[in-house]
């Protein structure tokens, strides 16, 4: 069985935002309204001269116990056997309960206005979305299904993002997770997230 996961190395993320751009074009997100499936936070940490800039990429954590899925009243949020959590835009009411349930701020709204703007921005024929709904990262499930990596992983110049199969012990991602070097966010909430981070602050002392 395949169990997809992502490891993000905060030491090598240079904050170029290429992942955001690649994701936005691949998944046609409403960037005109500053809505992204993945977002890179830019923060200064430290005091005085001992200060450094941290780039923190964020996306849906494709939790094994997804709170967004259990609160979804229509079943629009569902999970594939490979662990990817997806949204069916035809079933989604847009009640936003998933957005409140998600600890990782992974959800955003696609409104009627966004759908209209999307047709103009991406082109009438190219734009795939038909209805408003809540939206989020799906690990580029269509690309993954044909053996490609998610767009953000493919484009990452610092190789900060790695994508792999946790059930394959030879996969570099599985090795990083097994070693304990890569850790999940907010694991205590019981969501069992599948995006792991390699900390940069330890190495910086």
């Amino acid at each position: 069985m395949t169990h997809y996961a992502m490891v993000i190395d905060l030491n090598t993320c240079v904050g170029c935002n290429a992942c955001m751009a690649a994701c936005a074009m691949e998944n046609q997100t409403p960037i005109w309204d500053n809505k992204w499936r993945t977002y890179v936070h830019d923060k200064e940490i430290g005091t005085g001269e001992d200060i450094h800039r941290r780039f923190f990429p964020r996306l849906c954590n494709h939790c094994s116990n997804p709170a967004c899925m259990s609160v979804c009243p229509s079943g629009a949020t569902y999970q594939l056997e490979n662990g990817i959590v997806q949204v069916d835009e035809d079933l989604c009411l847009g009640c936003r309960a998933c957005a409140l349930a998600c600890p990782y701020d992974a959800r955003y709204e696609v409104t009627y206005a966004d759908v209209k703007q999307g047709r103009a921005f991406f082109g009438e024929e190219a734009y795939r979305r038909r209805r408003p709904s809540m939206d989020k990262c799906d690990f580029c499930a269509d690309r993954v299904a044909v053996g490609q990596k998610p767009a953000c992983v493919e484009t990452c110049v610092g190789s900060a993002r790695q994508f792999g199969d946790l059930d394959n012990p030879d996969d570099p991602v599985a090795k990083l997770v097994d070693s304990g070097m890569a850790r999940p966010l907010l694991a205590y909430l019981g969501t069992q997230p599948n995006v792991y981070y390699i900390d940069d602050l330890k190495r910086r002392g």
Binding site: F56, A97, D105
Partner: protein
């Protein structure tokens, strides 16, 4: 990674949803209280008509707040189908929608025989004609024969609706203020307290202070007094729970207990003032119904403020 933790409130659900939770709880508790009163305390057609119709109006208005807040209004059809409970048994909105719909259906059917006997409804042109239809007459007579069944089906769905308003917020795990068993309890107590207040207003203003309703009004006053006291105890527990909990809880505590609207508006005027007004009414009595009516209005205001501030004070602690 913890040094970068940031604290955020959400803006997905604002006063629209606070109003939805408030009207859902108030409407359902009003219907439930009215029917239980009519079935087991004192048969009271006027109270049933006022309670059932205003409760249905509140539930409809509350549901409209949720409906207009949806991103895709057409997709609401997916949760109106009762089969949704089999597909999504963990989703409280699915349960809540079914509770609200069936509460309104059984609530209306319970009130229908009273409507058919009512002089007031017999004078309203279109309603008078509809009530005279043979099918409606037949349904009304059947419901009249099985009024306890209709009443209990409405009551079960009503209690479900009231508890649901708290369970919904409880189902969001990242927010300590919401994700705890105190929330359904607090919202349930608050919903029944506001329902008592609303029915006291109905008895004093609409059904006009009839002497024969005096024991009923006193019962509602006493029950409301107890419910307000319980609400204060729950809030006292929340205060200490939030002080020494997670970071999310601590920031929620700061937001709530540094806010004058919460402190003065909700706890002061929404709970303490009506508590003492009703306490004096129960112990020594008032010469006029005005203090109890004032207390009722304040309780109704406080019920909304509770949900309003709860919605805005939910804090997410995020590691970026």
């Amino acid at each position: 990674m913890d040094v970068t933790t940031g604290f955020y409130t959400q803006d997905f659900w604002t006063w629209w949803l606070a109003l939805y939770l408030y009207l859902g709880g108030l409407g359902a508790a009003t219907l439930t209280t009215t029917f239980l009163t009519d079935m087991y305390m004192k048969p009271h057609p006027q109270l049933v008509l006022w309670g059932a119709l205003s409760g249905i109006a509140m539930l409809s208005l509350g549901s409209a707040m949720l409906f207009f807040h949806l991103l895709d209004h057409m997709a609401v059809i997916h949760i109106l189908n009762p089969m949704v409970l089999i597909n999504q048994p963990n989703a409280w909105i699915a349960w809540g929608t079914q509770f609200i719909v069936w509460m309104m259906v059984w609530g209306f059917l319970y009130a229908l025989p009273y409507m058919m006997d009512s002089e007031f409804f017999g004078r309203i042109p279109i309603v008078k004609n509809i009530l005279a239809w043979r099918l409606v007459q037949k349904i009304g007579r059947t419901c009249g024969r099985h009024c306890r069944l209709c009443g209990w089906l409405a009551t079960i769905n009503g209690i479900g609706t009231v508890i649901y308003t708290g369970l919904l917020l409880q189902s969001f795990p990242a927010v300590a203020l919401w994700h705890n068993p105190g929330v359904p309890l607090l919202f349930t107590v608050s919903a029944f307290s506001t329902a008592m207040a609303f029915l006291l207003l109905v008895l004093n203003l609409a059904i006009k202070n009839r002497e024969e309703d005096r024991p009923l009004r006193l019962f509602y006053e006493r029950t409301d007094l107890i419910l307000i006291a319980v609400e204060l105890v729950i809030l006292f527990s929340f205060f200490f729970y939030l002080q020494r909990g997670s970071q999310s809880a601590a920031v929620s505590a700061q937001l709530l207990w540094n806010n004058w609207g919460w402190l003065i508006g909700f706890i002061g005027f929404g709970l303490l003032v009506p508590f003492f007004l009703e306490l004096k009414g129960v112990i020594k009595g008032w010469n006029s119904p005005a203090p109890i009516m004032l207390a009722s209005v304040l309780v109704l205001m406080g019920g909304y403020l509770l949900r309003h501030y709860f919605m805005y004070a939910g804090v997410y602690a995020r590691p970026w």
